[in-house]
Amino acid sequence: MTEAALTPSERSAIIRDSLAVGVATGAYGIGFGAVSVASGLSVAQTCVLSLVMFTGASQFALAGVVAAGGAPLSGAATALLLGTRNTLYGLRMGPLLRWRGWRRAAAAHVLIDESTAMSVTRQTTEAVRLGFVTTGVSVFVLWNLATAAGALAGGAVGDPRAYGLDAAVGAAFLALLWPRLKDHRNILVAGLAAALALSLVPVAAPGVPVLAAGGVALVVGVLAKGPDPTEIPGPDDVAGGHH
């Protein structure tokens, strides 16, 4: 890595791109807030999820499993399995961010798809940190404000099915999955996982089919050979990222 200082125009370009992603991503916290309350979580539980868990797919997963009638703890297990994705991002980002102590502990909280995507391709440590922090903090602030707004509004409007909110959850999962469906192995795994989950629905407790589908990843991952297509998201894979 070269360590030339960023020029003011490079700084403002990184900040502008990162804020655009922050706004676009944060806004759909409204959707999470509304869906979560519709799934049976309280407004307070919904807001705590966005504050503490702060990783969208896991939050939607917990709400989705609970909405389907699953036990809260199978929702939690699904959320944790999805959260392992962030561990992978951390392994990539650690050597790039080069932080220790409290800075690393704070950075970990905003280690998500978007902050990784908007910083992993930068050329210097300063640029990586700037993109990571600007994206992470702007998503965090807006995501939490939007969650609270969505939760309060969602609780006030009555039957969420009348507004198609239950369909919005499936669409959100598909949109999160979409950037990953770029190679044959992933498409195969997605198809097998969906088929296995549906086949288990009539015979297993709610929440179990999704967890069992995670086993497909394990089996295919262990059996597969050959080079691994990288799954670290790039700037084009996140909402609002066009650069």
Binding site: G64, L73, A76, N86, G90, L97, G170, V201, A204, A217
Partner: protein
């Protein structure tokens, strides 16, 4: 429910911190990396299927499938995330009206 919220919330934070704290060479184990990459693919695909195609322990086909169809077209057309999600909700809601 609070237990699940807090356990999963704190657990997800620890997963992030673990990633930032481990040496990068852990990733160089090819099987570990493949499995880690495939887990979100499998879980998200299963969540889509279960969310749209089931109610409790019954397989169902209803207006949610219309919403998912819209989402699929929207993603193929590279529409923004929010348009895809809100559009799917609107399509499903309209489907329930007719």
């Amino acid at each position: 429910m609070w237990t699940a919220v807090l356990v999963a919330g704190v657990g997800c934070y620890l997963l992030k911190l673990t990633g930032l704290s481990l040496p990068e060479r852990v990733l160089s184990h090819a099987t570990v990396e493949r499995v880690a990459d495939l887990i979100p693919v499998a879980l998200l695909a299963a969540l889509v299927a279960v969310q749209v195609g089931s109610s409790g322990t019954a397989l169902t086909l209803d207006a949610r499938a219309l919403g998912l169809g819209f989402a699929l077209v929207g993603l193929l057309l590279r529409l923004p995330f929010l348009v895809v999600v809100v559009g799917a909700a609107v399509v499903a809601a309209l489907g329930r009206l007719v």
